[in-house]
């Protein structure tokens, strides 16, 4: 029954290597997604009308289509336009562009929650619009977004598991190789699932820790309203 435990011994090294790639994919995707997501959220909230619509369209399209399709467009489709990416690069891009749409929504929600009141307060002491955004609205909005934003790293970690379909050598790719070697698909993928679970739990614990560390007293009361 528990023969699959033996796979850790046999394929442990490969799994570890794959897990490393998986974490790398998560980190890079998260970083790209954060920078782009922040820009999108700002465009959405403070840009001129056309930019707001553009950002809104981007978010709707990337949230409204499967990541797998986005990945295939980037990896198989874009070369027709002369844009050729390595497998890893394509994966980074797809994950980052996709995550940006979700992160933008988290940030937009908290920027809206901070509201026009804080903007007025900032303007009233003579700050410019972008100064107020930079010094007053964003510092609060980023902290406010943290609880809901902290779903994103875990969510992204799980979605990276599809990039082996363009032959990125992540944990799933190692799993597939081991599965074909042993012909025990169920057992091997169970072992792989355990590795993912461990990563997810560890990341979850880390995020909870960070959330506690960065808590501003009284700030959460505002959220609940």
């Amino acid at each position: 029954m528990l023969t699959w435990l033996g796979y850790f011994e046999r394929f442990g090294k490969n799994f570890l290597r794959g897990a490393g790639v998986t974490l790398e994919l998560t980190a890079v995707g998260l970083a790209i997604g954060f920078v782009l997501g922040l820009l999108l959220a700002l465009a959405r909230c403070y840009g001129p009308k056309w930019l707001q619509q553009l950002a809104g369209g981007y978010i709707a399209v990337f949230r409204g289509t499967p990541l797998l399709v986005q990945l295939f467009i980037i990896y198989y489709g874009l070369p027709e336009l002369g844009l050729t990416f390595s497998q890893n690069m394509a994966a980074y891009l797809a994950l980052g562009l996709n995550s940006a749409a979700y992160q933008a929504e988290y940030l937009r929600g908290s920027i809206n929650a901070i509201g026009s009141a804080q903007m007025q307060a900032g303007r009233s002491i003579g700050l410019s619009k972008w100064q107020t955004i930079g010094y007053v609205v964003l510092p609060q909005a980023l902290r406010l977004a943290l609880p809901s934003w902290s779903n994103e790293p875990i969510s992204l970690l799980k979605t990276t598991a599809i990039v082996f379909l363009i032959a990125v050598q992540d944990l799933m790719a190692e799993g597939k190789r081991a599965a074909t070697a042993t012909f025990d698909f169920v057992g091997v993928y169970l072992a792989v699932a355990v590795v993912y679970l461990v990563m997810v739990f560890a990341l979850d614990a880390l995020l909870k820790f960070l959330e506690r560390k960065t808590k501003i007293p009284g700030m959460d009361v505002e959220t609940r309203r």
Binding site: L68, F72, K158, T159, L190
Partner: protein, 214 residues
């Protein structure tokens, strides 16, 4: 091959995409609702078991879980890739849907249950006639989100060889060497499916909304 044929070839995969979704989403809802009822009203032990189920299922990437369930199911019974994939996807979704239903059940306040019991309704009657009708309404927005996710996740059965939209796009992309157009077309179809579903559920939410004065 002209553009119309190209598109309609890819679009012919829609029936599988929709089929997978129409099997996975309701089966996930059925399992999810039963588990949620157990979670909320089934006592401590049941709650612990359900919590474990939820944590594990939601902690594993959908494609990994899909593979495990698919190969496990295929070992036991002789099902087509379409059916095995759809049902497996339903199992994946069940944990998420359980959380949605649970959240909705919990946000109907416990006082409503007390009010119902005070009139003389039994526990099951109170759940059936007072808590559930209100929970259903609360669950629609997050459920609409889950429906969109299942439509998108139905693309994962591509990896099992089901001839759905993405697989069709890949096939015609390869034969025509026009991958960009093929995958963009697939994206458009998925987008329309997600968009229409979300709009429809949005309308349902409005229709079921309980009237109140602002």
């Amino acid at each position: 091959m002209d553009f119309g044929q190209f598109i309609s070839y890819i679009a012919s995969g829609t029936i599988y995409t929709v089929g997978v979704t129409l099997i996975a989403l309701p089966s996930g809802l059925l399992i999810g609702t039963m588990l949620a009822l157990l979670y909320v009203y089934g006592g401590k032990t049941a709650a612990r078991v359900m919590n474990l189920y939820s944590t594990i299922f939601r902690g594993i990437p959908p494609i990994v879980l899909l593979f495990i369930l698919f190969f496990a199911v295929s070992k036991g019974i002789n099902l087509s890739a379409f059916w095995a994939g759809s049902l497996s996807l339903g199992m994946v979704s069940s944990a998420y849907q359980m959380e949605i239903v649970r959240g909705a059940l919990l946000s109907v306040s416990g006082d409503q249950l007390m009010g119902a019991r005070a009139v003389g309704l039994g526990r099951l009657q109170a759940i059936r006639y007072v808590v559930l009708p209100q929970a259903v309404r609360l669950a629609i927005p997050p459920w609409s989100n889950e429906a969109a996710i299942v439509i998108k996740d139905s693309s994962l059965v591509y990896a099992l060889g089901v001839p759905e939209i993405l697989r069709k796009a890949q096939l015609i992309g390869a034969s025509s060497q026009r991958y960009l157009l093929a995958y963009l077309s697939a994206a458009v179809i998925y987008f329309l499916l997600v968009f229409a579903t979300t709009k429809l559920l949005n309308m349902l939410e409005k229709k079921l909304a309980i009237p109140s004065n602002p």
